[in-house]
């Protein structure tokens, strides 16, 4: 049982409230929670190069895109149809199920719109 709260960017008050309540409503759908965990753990790999708050300081943002687009992009890197040494190596290590899980996870992440 765990939070799906990776890469927190909700307003601080909401986070505090959620944390004070333990944050962890037992998921109605356990397989859904497992998939979010899988997506979150793969997204953690992405976060070593891509900011997951939606900001782009030279490496493109990968949140807020729809899941199908993300899967298609990763597939293109994997097949060598799109150039990119780093993304090719990353995508080669992921399965189709990994693509789906991380794409759904990233597509659900909100952009932080506060200027920083």
């Amino acid at each position: 049982m765990r939070s799906a709260g990776f890469f927190v960017s909700a307003p601080r008050a909401l986070i505090a409230l959620a944390m004070s309540a333990g944050m962890l409503a037992w998921p109605a759908d356990r397989s859904g929670a497992a998939e979010r965990d899988r997506g979150a753990q793969i997204a953690a790999v992405c976060a070593s190069c891509h900011r997951l708050d939606g900001r782009d300081h030279g490496i493109p943002s990968i949140i807020g895109l729809d899941a199908a687009t993300l899967v298609a992009e990763m597939q293109a890197f994997k097949l060598g149809e799109r150039p990119g040494q780093i993304m090719r190596v990353m995508s080669l290590s992921l399965t189709a199920e990994d693509f789906a899980a991380v794409a759904r996870y990233l597509a659900a992440q909100p952009k932080d719109t506060n200027p920083r």
Binding site: F7, S48, H57, L92
Partner: protein
């Protein structure tokens, strides 16, 4: 996050949640405790990802320095291409946004039987799981005359901070026509391309401001990582400014003379205007004191959880760990820290650690506008960690590719340090 928040709100107004909340409060009083020693890239990443993956853990990060200076990208500072401030990062976000308790003092002892960490002030911290990320230490007995005090004359600048500033000051003060000597250590050491990138970027600085200066690399090895790329770039950008002497020529770096600022090899003595001695390395001191190292001087670990093979219940990540084919790099430390955090969270909370994904990516500058990017994936297997897929840059890539890599490197630094400290 949106889903979770909505669900939590739903729970707060629902009658059926009261009992659940009560049970949770009771459990919260007996939170599992994870202590992380070392606030470098490995330790900070592990603390953050533990906090993100399991709110029911009590996480303490022990780090004596108030701010961390990254060794990666410090070669750009040495060349005058980046500010020192841009390399330094604090722990405020880890404390305030992720609820991590920061203890700003040195950890001086580990008691694996009592599961406690001793602090310099005399206090101690109890843990259920301990993650140790002590980085590197130098083998000061390996080069005669090169001890802790000698680093003030001949800086190593291989643990970033005042040493890096000292070396930059010496380079700025050096007269045009001087010889800068850099000694490169034997394997394994932190950041395999680092010494050679340093020579490249300092050459770029000299080319602009001290064009008659020379750089001499005295190597303990006979070859080095991406040697073909570096030597091609040195020829293209710096003509004969950089000379590299392999171990088979030098016979190894044997001694230093502080008065004459000389480096003595088995066969010769080289006087320097400025010398940067990067000594042979071992795991950080606390790993040695905690019984985590083997005869090699590094820490053997389980390839899936990074749990020490010497001390159960203690995990070692980053440069101090002996992680199979993975290099000692900030990226590797960050990657290991995440896998370790997921594994520790799973052990303590019953959550599920997914299949491990271990990577190293490296942006290396051959000149300010000529950079390469490499990527390697790794797979645990056969009790160690092996290379999976690999993509290395090649000699002869076009200029635009290299310029784009240099620009991407800046973006990577921003995203990566945000991932670790933000």
């Amino acid at each position: 996050m949106t889903d979770c928040t909505r669900r939590t709100f739903g729970c707060l107004v629902g009658v059926g949640c009261v009992a659940t909340l009560g049970a949770r409060v009771a459990r919260a009083q007996a939170k599992a405790r994870v202590v992380v020693i070392g606030g470098g890239v490995g330790g900070a990443t592990a603390a953050k990802y533990l906090a993100l993956s399991a709110r029911e853990l009590e996480i303490t990060l022990v780090e004596p320095r108030p701010r961390y200076t990254t060794c990666f990208f410090s070669n750009l500072y040495l060349a005058g291409l980046r500010s020192f401030a841009s390399l330094t990062h604090g722990y405020e976000a880890l404390a305030q946004q992720y609820g991590i308790r920061i203890i700003q003092e040195p950890a001086v002892a580990i008691d694996p039987a009592a599961k406690t960490v001793g602090l310099e002030s005399g206090g101690s911290l109890s843990y259920d799981r301990l993650i140790v990320a002590p980085g590197i230490a130098f083998k000061f007995d390996a080069i005669e005359g090169y001890d802790e005090a000698a680093t003030q004359t001949l800086p190593h600048a291989w643990i970033a901070g005042p040493q890096t500033q000292l070396l930059r000051g010496q380079l700025e003060a050096m007269e045009d026509g001087g010889v800068f000597v850099l000694t490169a250590p034997p394997n394994p050491f932190r950041c395999p391309p680092g010494p050679y990138e340093r020579a490249s970027l300092i050459a770029a600085y000299f080319k602009r401001f001290k064009p008659r200066a020379k750089i001499l690399i005295l190597d303990a090895k006979d070859s080095f990582f991406e040697q073909d790329l570096f030597q091609d770039a040195w020829e293209r950008h710096f003509a004969d400014m950089i000379e590299w002497l392999p171990g088979q020529f030098t016979g190894g770096i044997k001694a230093v003379d502080l008065k004459t600022r000389s480096i003595k090899t088995a066969s010769d003595s080289f006087a320097a205007a400025v010398a940067n001695v990067i000594p042979p390395q071992v795991a950080g001191l606390l790993a040695q004191k905690g019984g985590l190292v083997d005869a090699s001087g590094w820490c053997p670990v389980d390839p899936l959880t990074f749990e020490s093979k010497q001390q159960p219940g203690i995990h070692v990540i980053g440069d101090a760990a002996m992680a199979g084919d993975m290099p000692k790099s900030a990226f590797a430390a960050n990657s290991q820290a995440k896998m370790c955090a997921f594994a520790v969270a799973a052990l303590l909370t019953g959550s599920q650690a997914q299949s491990p994904h271990l990577f190293n990516t490296c942006f290396t500058f051959l000149a300010p506008d000529d950079a390469v990017s490499d990527a390697i994936s790794f797979k645990p297997g056969g009790g160690t960690i092996k290379i999976g897929d690999i993509s290395l840059s090649q000699v002869g890539e076009n200029e635009q590719t290299r310029r784009e890599a240099a620009r991407a490197a800046d973006g990577w630094y921003d995203a990566f340090t945000h991932d670790v400290f933000g």
